[in-house]
């Protein structure tokens, strides 16, 4: 199998890919920078610099400093990096697979299923036997959200696969139908919910990294990382799929295998992301688009760039969410939308006529 750019005579495409590959380095530096700043700021005003200086001088950290850095800021930072990378990469993969710029992880039912699972846990969780409740502890909602997103994806996959061939169009439509159904079930549960459960649901929907801790991280990180690594291998195949399924097949791309891999990776990555952070919209659509506008649609570079920019963007948004109304904090979904949407519009307007999405 030959890489797509090699089959094309035009040289600008190659330079575009090279530019996109150089962007890896820039974005990786950006992630590092944002991560450091994020560790450094917060409502308590402890700064990383001071803490490092203190450690170097051999002084012990105060209880407060170690809790703030190790139990609050660090797990939250890692969670932000993982969730941002998961959502943005999932978005890029879905847009490639469905050959549709509006596709996002929600299309494979992850968001609707996760929402349904979380709602079930929030509203009916109290009815579980006490022993089972004690066992799941505070993790019932994320577990239910993850299970919900997976069940939905499997269901949608079964519905749209016949004779070993998955129809993306069927999956798209079935996804819409299932989202409506899940919405209705959530509606019934909302009617049953009391007002404090309603509050919990609203906040869950707006998304937050506030609940990040090492336990959640230990369960979500392996899944997200494995899915991200898997997604990175899809670049060449997604490029081929852009030419249409038949052509992709003829140039030697294992189309069905690709689809399975893409759906699996997206369900795992964004399912885990949704489970630990709730509904954070926007990142999955905007990040890949910004990168396509900047360096072109070549998935070989786009996937990694999406992961990096998604991670940086989400950590930056979370940082703003944490400090802007300190000591209280905003749900992160609000920050990503309020800052991201106008910026995205501005880019679109500037590029209007130049790029046809």
């Amino acid at each position: 199998m030959v890489a797509m750019s090699d089959t094309l005579p035009a040289t600008p495409r190659r330079t575009r890919l090279e530019r996109a590959r150089r962007l890896h380095v820039v974005l990786a530096l950006l992630v590092g920078l944002v991560a450091l700043i994020s560790l450094n700021v917060g409502a308590t005003g402890f700064s990383l610099v001071n803490v490092i200086a203190k450690t170097l001088r051999g002084e012990a950290l105060s209880r407060m400093e170690s809790v703030v850095l190790w139990d609050i800021r660090l797990p939250r930072l890692v969670m932000g990096l993982l969730v941002g990378a998961a959502l943005a990469t999932s978005g890029a993969v879905m847009q490639g697979l469905f050959r549709n710029p509006l596709a996002d992880p929600g299309i494979v039912g992850v968001t609707a299923g996760g929402m349904l699972g979380a709602t079930l846990a929030i509203v009916l969780g109290g009815m579980l036997p006490a022993g089972l409740l004690a066992m799941t502890g505070g993790t019932l909602v994320p577990i239910a959200a993850f299970a919900g997103s997976w069940l939905t994806t499997i269901l949608l996959y079964r519905v749209s696969t016949r004779a070993g061939r998955t129809s993306v169009a069927t999956m798209l439509l079935a996804g819409i139908a299932f989202t409506a159904l899940a919405g209705a079930l959530v509606g019934i549960l909302i009617y049953k919910a009391d007002d404090s459960q309603l509050r919990d649901l609203t906040f869950w929907n707006m998304g937050s990294l506030a609940g990040a801790n090492w336990v959640k991280l230990a369960s979500a990180a392996p899944i997200i990382l494995a899915a991200l690594v898997g997604a990175m291998l899809l670049g060449r195949g997604l490029n081929g799929l852009a030419l249409g399924e038949a052509t992709a097949h003829h140039i030697g791309i294992p189309v069905q295998w690709m689809k399975n891999g893409a759906i699996l990776a997206v369900a795992a990555a964004s399912g885990a992301a949704v489970a630990v952070s709730g509904g954070i919209g926007f990142v999955g659509i905007v990040v890949p688009h910004l990168l396509r506008l900047a360096t072109g649609p070549d998935h070989r570079a786009l996937l990694l760039n999406s992961a990096l920019l998604g991670a940086a963007l989400l950590v930056a948004a979370d940082m703003i969410a944490r400090v802007v109304i300190a000591p209280a904090e905003l749900p992160i979904g609000i920050v990503t939308a309020v800052m991201g949407a106008p910026f995205f519009l501005w880019i679109l307007l500037r590029q209007r006529g130049v790029v046809d999405l």
Partner: protein, 294 residues
């Protein structure tokens, strides 16, 4: 004795008891002021109210969004909504004791706060006099002012008993009362059974017009008409009273109810009405007076 005189007398008695409590506690406050530095974070409007009534308001560092009374607490930093606290935000105000109303959280935040060696005291809720007294005692014990708490609990229980006895002494038909939480978009969200609003309505000698469901729910227009409330109660969020009444009674759901005929709308401060803190007796007396006063 006429009804009006009786009501006035009751109100006077409640006020007198409250004033006595406030006076004796103020005396304590002046001596306590130098001793205890501000180190307490209070989460929950009812809890904050109780801290102040115990004369310990000066020990508060910060509050949550639901803590709005007494007015001076609004000057304190706000750590956000009580069910959605941010761990670093809470730590940043530097509390050594956190009083948590029932439902404060989320659990992840509380876990981190415990890890940071901060004392967390949970104050259980409830919709009756015993629950209020228990809240006061819990807060008093946490703030190490058990005698004041005992005195305040006694005064508050007494005031509430007087208000309840007065409401219970009501003769004649009970008024049907509908508590409307929100009428946004013409849709009524009302208090059903097992709510703070239903409890206060009953205490004030009324009958909750919305029966047959638990919690705060949206009511269909027909069900609202069938509920046939004599009086509508809402939370006072500021704004023009007449405008609200015009809007409310022009809704098809309420237009044909007895309440619309007499334009019977009562607005009471939400925390006072539903907080089950130290002002519940006042809320009961006020509501009772507006229901049967004239």
């Amino acid at each position: 004795m006429t009804r009006r005189m009786y009501n006035t007398l009751t109100a006077l008695m409640v006020a007198l008891v409250a004033a006595c409590a406030a006076w004796s506690l103020n005396a304590d406050e002046s001596t306590a002021k130098e001793a205890a530095p501000a180190d307490v974070l209070s989460i929950g409007g009812d809890v904050t109210e109780i801290v102040h009534a115990l004369g310990q308001g000066h020990r508060l560092l910060a509050r949550d969004t639901t803590s709005t009374w007494p007015p001076e607490v609004r000057d304190l930093p706000d750590v956000g909504y009580m069910r959605q606290l941010s761990p670093e935000g809470v730590l940043s105000v530097g509390p050594s004791l956190i009083l948590l109303a029932e439902g404060a959280g989320p659990p992840e935040t509380l876990e981190v706060l415990r890890a940071a060696d901060i004392d967390l005291v949970e104050v259980n809720g409830g919709f009756d006099a015993e629950a209020i007294a228990a809240k006061i005692r819990t807060v008093g014990a946490a703030l190490e002012v058990p005698e004041q708490a005992e005195a305040l609990a006694r005064d508050v229980t007494l005031a509430l008993d007087i208000a309840l006895a007065d409401a219970a002494a009501q003769t004649g038909p009970r008024k049907r009362v509908l508590f409307v939480l929100s009428a946004a978009g013409g849709k009524l969200t009302v208090a059903g059974e097992n709510t703070g609003a239903a409890a206060v309505i009953r205490m004030a000698g009324g009958v909750n017009a919305a029966q047959g469901f638990d919690g705060y729910k949206q009511l269909t227009d027909e069900a609202a008409s069938v509920a046939a409330p004599d009086v509508i109660v809402m939370m006072d969020r500021g704004g023009n009273h007449d405008a609200t009444a015009d809007l409310l009674f022009s809704l098809p759901a309420l237009a044909i109810t007895p309440a619309a005929e007499t334009r019977a709308l009562v607005k009471i401060d939400g925390l006072k009405l539903l907080g089950f803190g130290v002002r519940t007796a006042q809320a009961v007396t006020e509501l009772n007076a507006t229901l049967y006063g004239d």
